[in-house]
């Protein structure tokens, strides 16, 4: 007879040895609601959601005749100045298989709203956008209409709030299109209405021009292609909505051919490096030929907890940060990916609510092998850095190249991405940022099944995208702001102010004027990855020292030093202080910065800043 104790034991065996499959149960305690499925890892192939289908249009026949007038500013209806690309994305309730042994799970997800009749979107993630930078031309950007097909706020029962606002994370776009979390009234009395619910839509204009474009010189064109993602950002309920599934990738490449109309074209050519074509068919003189196409793979790490019927389980009363029991990559529990023995570009995104990872490339026995980091949130590093492992805070992106030809047959037939960071609750992982506590063996998140050797035209040059660190002169004149993140009486505070009052701005940086922001964590043992919207950060100091640049002891800590990397999310370990330089370009208006532990963000570790 199976009593509770037996169930528990079986569950442990099931997860450790993968000998028993569904419906072996694991019981954390007695009641039926705490029974959990035990899932065999590596049964499912890694999902790779395709691009959304663009909506074609003819001159003077816009795809949406009720296009938002603000978005229309980035469109030339005649197409003379350029042709914007239109998409329709729908947020909807759908059932998706997240593991072979799990009944389909009801999620909230983004879907391509322009599928041919009769087709449905079957992925957990939304479509993967793959767009090129628009160079100097804001009229060849991307327009995305997001339609909300979720239940109405009145009808919905359960966690999550079906009112939405979509943030293109890593994108540099006008305030109106940045996914501000709530509707507000601006200082001049105008309404800033950016959230929408069932039956409503919102038009987002993403010109995808370099920050600095609108300046006389068209900017320096050094902020380039990167791995971005889009997710819901509604006030107080982002954690629940993102956990329900409102997430997708948005990848941006450099264009391979400069626009002949660009007066800055000559200066641009040397920045056309991350063109997304390893064969460099266009013959761009500076193209890097990084692995591309089928060999360029975005990977979002998420966690979820499931009930026996595959239903998503969440704890609405855990505001420390929710940790799931199952690990998903691209919306599938512990999937596998067949790979050729050649180079791959892997773009890691931590899309979890509250878990920090430290990732290793390891074989079955746990022997680990170095990987080559080439990029982070702000796109390519100035040079590649070989890393034994890498820490990945919530919302951080790290891109690596792995050369599977280094793992010959028959010694190697499979490799794994393994998380070894120790973390028990939403406060954060164990240890310090500079020295996280690792387990000897961790959880295998993704399995690579090594196949045949194939020709590999891709390269990883010793120089990627070099750029100058901010000059000492500029730093000496930059105003300094301190932002202290604290916890008192179980509440988050920023500079002593409680509860993210977004009706007024905590700071008003001046457009184009560089500032130094000191991000200070005084909340004891808690970890906070701080995300600043609008423009990238240059990291100047961490705890009074120069930030890590890949030289010296490498414990996996973020590569972040200015001149090497540009960041949009800064991991603050316990009692850390990080100094960054930011210059907010092109767009005035309200934006936010916040902790990307999503439960912290919702409760209300978030503040508004207005670029003026």
């Amino acid at each position: 007879m199976l009593n509770r104790r037996n169930l528990f034991t079986l569950g442990l065996w099931g997860s450790a040895g993968a000998l028993l499959s569904w419906p072996v149960l694991r019981a954390a305690s007695g009641s039926a609601s705490t029974l959990r499925p035990v899932l065999t890892p590596f049964l499912d192939r890694l999902p790779l959601p395709p691009e959304p289908r663009a909506i074609d249009w003819s001159p003077n026949q816009l795809p949406f005749n009720d296009l938002d007038p603000e978005a229309l500013r980035f469109v030339d209806p005649t197409q003379v100045k350029g042709k914007a690309t239109f998409y329709r994305i729908v947020s909807e309730v759908r059932k998706v298989k997240l593991h072979a042994q799990l009944p389909a799970t009801e999620i909230w997800g983004y879907a391509d709203g322009n599928l041919p009749a009769g087709q449905t979107w079957t992925f957990a993630l939304g479509p993967t956008f793959k767009r090129s930078l628009s160079n100097h031309n804001q009229f060849i950007g991307t327009i995305v209409r997001h339609e909300n097909h979720l239940p109405s706020v009145q009808e919905h029962r359960g966690f999550g709030e079906p009112r939405t606002s979509v943030h293109l994370h890593g994108g540099h776009q006008a305030a109106r299109f940045d996914g501000f979390p709530t509707d507000i009234t601006l200082a001049d009395g105008t309404a800033f209405r950016v959230t929408f619910e069932r039956g409503e839509h919102f038009d987002y204009a993403y010109p995808l021009v370099d920050p600095g474009f609108f300046t006389v010189t068209h900017g320096t064109h050094t902020e380039r292609a990167s791995t971005m993602w889009y997710h819901d950002h509604i006030i107080d309920f982002t954690a629940q909505n993102v956990y329900r599934g409102l997430v997708g990738f948005f990848l941006v490449h450099d264009i391979p051919i400069p626009d002949p109309a660009d007066p800055n074209a000559a200066a641009l050519v040397q920045h056309m490096r991350d063109t997304g074509d390893e064969t460099n068919a266009a013959g761009a003189p500076f193209a890097l030929q990084l692995p591309s196409g089928d060999f360029d793979i975005p990977l979002v790490l998420q966690e979820k907890t499931f009930g026996l019927n595959g239903e998503l389980i969440y704890d609405v009363f855990n505001t420390d940060g929710f940790l799931g029991e199952q690990f998903l990559v691209n919306g599938m529990v512990q999937p596998f990916l067949p790979v050729k023995r050649r180079k791959y570009r892997l773009r890691f995104l931590n899309g979890s609510n509250a878990r920090t990872y430290q990732l290793f490339l390891a074989d079955k026995a746990g022997r680990s092998f170095p990987v080559t980091q080439i990029a982070t949130e702000g796109g390519l590093l100035s040079r590649p850095v070989i890393r034994p492992s890498f820490l990945l805070g919530m919302a951080e992106r790290i891109e690596v190249v792995i050369d599977f030809s280094q793992f010959p047959f028959p010694a190697f037939s499979e490799l794994y991405i393994e998380n070894r960071l120790q973390q028990d609750d939403g406060r954060g992982p164990k240890g310090k940022f500079e020295r996280p506590e690792l387990a000897a063996r961790g959880t295998q998140l993704l399995k690579f099944m090594l196949e045949e050797v194939v020709p590999d035209p891709s390269r990883v040059p010793a120089e990627l995208r070099p750029f100058e660190a901010i000059s000492a002169l500029e730093l000496s004149t930059a105003p300094i702001r301190n932002f202290v993140f604290e916890r008192t009486n179980g509440q988050w505070a920023i500079n002593g102010e409680f509860a993210g009052d977004l009706s007024r701005a905590m700071a008003q940086p001046v457009l184009d004027q560089g500032e130094i922001w000191r991000l200070i964590n005084k909340s004891g043992g808690w970890w906070h990855p701080i995300h600043v919207h609008h423009d990238f950060m240059r990291v100047l100091k961490r705890n009074g020292r120069l930030p890590f640049d890949g030289t010296g002891p490498d414990f996996g800590q973020s590569l972040e030093r200015d001149g090497l990397a540009k960041k949009d999310t800064i991991v603050l370990g316990p009692n850390s202080e990080v100094e960054v330089f930011s210059r907010f370009r092109n767009y005035k208006g309200p934006f936010v910065f916040h902790c990307h532990n999503l439960e912290h963000e919702d409760h209300a570790m978030m503040a508004r800043f207005d670029v003026v």
Binding site: V153, G158, I313, V316, D425, W492, G525
Partner: protein
């Protein structure tokens, strides 16, 4: 029976140190009868209030915070701030939104003490001040997740939560906000679904 009652009394008198397992287990279903303790509390008028049946259950927003009358730290500011929220709520107090301030010093906070406290801040009907057995209030605190994971810190009453837990049971929506937040921000949050 006698033994059990004596045990209960002992618990009621025990200081802050009782160790409880984490409650409020994660669930797919909106939290309901099985998830909330239906313990009996006393309001400032000495009336018995079942925590689930009389306060939580139904299609209204409930907004709960924790105070004690002798608290000199954040409680007076918090209660004064919630009095401003009460002002914004107007007639909606008690109808669309039920407010409850629960004592974490129930041994000293008798209904009479809480009644004086409520009157001092001008609390109207629809905003109740609740006391009860220590064990029951601890159960509520655990269920709503407003405790510190570090036990030493959790025992420090001066560090008790300043959060206002709010939700709508019928709709299964729960969140929380600092009880010291801008009153308009609190008002917007707790009237979100009505």
């Amino acid at each position: 029976m006698l033994i059990r009652r004596r045990f209960a009394a002992a618990v009621a008198l025990a200081p802050w140190a009782v160790h409880w397992p984490a409650l409020g287990a994660p669930s797919a279903l909106p939290p309901g009868r099985a998830d909330f303790p239906n313990v009996v509390l006393l309001n400032q008028d000495g009336r018995a209030i079942h925590f689930y049946d009389d306060l939580i259950r139904g299609d209204h927003t409930v907004a709960i915070n924790f105070i004690y009358a002798q608290c000199a730290d954040i409680c007076p500011m918090t209660t004064a701030n919630l009095a401003r929220v009460q002002g914004l709520l107007g007639e909606r107090l008690g109808r669309d939104v039920r407010m409850a301030s629960i004592s974490i010093d129930p041994v000293r906070d008798s209904p009479a003490v809480l009644k004086a406290y409520a009157e001092h801040f001008g609390a109207r009907a629809g905003w109740q001040f609740l006391t009860g057995r220590s064990r029951d209030i601890e159960l509520i605190r655990r269920t709503l997740g407003v405790y510190e994971r570090d036990p030493a810190k959790d025992r420090d009453k001066s560090q008790h939560t300043g959060m206002l837990v709010y939700g709508n049971e019928a709709r299964g929506r729960w969140s929380r906000i600092s009880a010291l937040a801008d009153p308009r921000r609190i008002f917007d949050s707790i009237t979100r679904w009505t």
